[in-house]
Symmetry: C2
Subunit: 163 residues, 2 copies
């Protein structure tokens, strides 16, 4: 499997993917910042979760998932461990996870990206697909966050500004 | 530049990226389908565009951008050329562009992904960054579409179902 994948055309290197992901994480951080404190924890449309809950989901995926991949342990997904009460707490944890993601991502080998792993004991896919899913899930929920901000009459950050 | 990039760890091959993108396009197609005809063209939150307009934007990027990259022409972005009046027209064009994207994407070489190109005469970035932007932009606007559907009381398609 690994051989087949690596003899084909490379689209991007792992360094480029990490930079891409961290660029998205910078933008998501700006979206968290753009919410007024109260609305971050309470505002919702159509019965969906407030943006603080979505931010906690993202924080509970990135770093913990990479740790699981690197250490090959399949602990269940857990978003109950972190219960922030303020925007500041969320941003602080966000920045801590930036370092965790950089560290663990760089420990994944080229071969490993192509190997199947049962992430969180539940999502059995090639590692690269799981990682792309983390990024997509973040962009998806952030699109929801942009809509919340617009509904609140707040101008969201520019989508293309990442660093 | 090319050499530096290709001696580093591969994250994904071009075939894997294309499959990933087309999986997202399948999901976006389901989101278009999920809108009632009238709301597809008219429903909006916070002054943002209705989902039909967003779908036209996506249709005006993917295929035309890849043609520009392959043929190295820098014609300006144009979303005025396609003015659908029905959901059916949008879905038909969507499916035609699926083939255009497959054809042109496969004509881009590994070296080319790393080369800078002035897309639409305006966005001067490495080709791989422009292509990731197309996917991200789609996931972003689709997240907005999910929020519209929830606000309309309509259950959106599963985020993880792509094929």
């Amino acid at each position: 499997m690994t051989t087949t994948a690596t003899i084909t055309k490379q689209f991007i290197s792992s360094e480029q993917l990490l930079e891409h992901w961290q660029g998205h994480r910078n933008l998501t951080r700006r979206v968290i910042e753009a919410f007024p404190e109260k609305e971050l924890f309470e505002f919702s449309i159509g019965g969906m979760r407030p943006f603080a809950k979505l931010a906690v989901e993202l924080i509970s995926i990135g770093g913990p998932a990479l740790k699981g991949i690197v250490n090959k342990h399949e602990e269940a997904f857990n978003e109950e461990a972190f219960n922030p009460k303020t925007k500041e707490e969320i941003l602080k944890k966000w920045d801590e996870e930036t370092q965790v993601i950089n560290q663990y991502f760089n420990e994944i080998s080229e071969e490993r990206f192509q190997e199947t792993f049962n992430l969180f004991g539940q999502y059995e896919f090639p590692v690269y697909q799981n990682i792309l899913y983390f990024v997509d899930n973040e962009v998806h929920h952030r699109g929801q966050g942009y809509t919340y901000l617009r509904a609140l009459g707040i101008e969201p950050p520019f989508f293309w500004e990442r660093f």
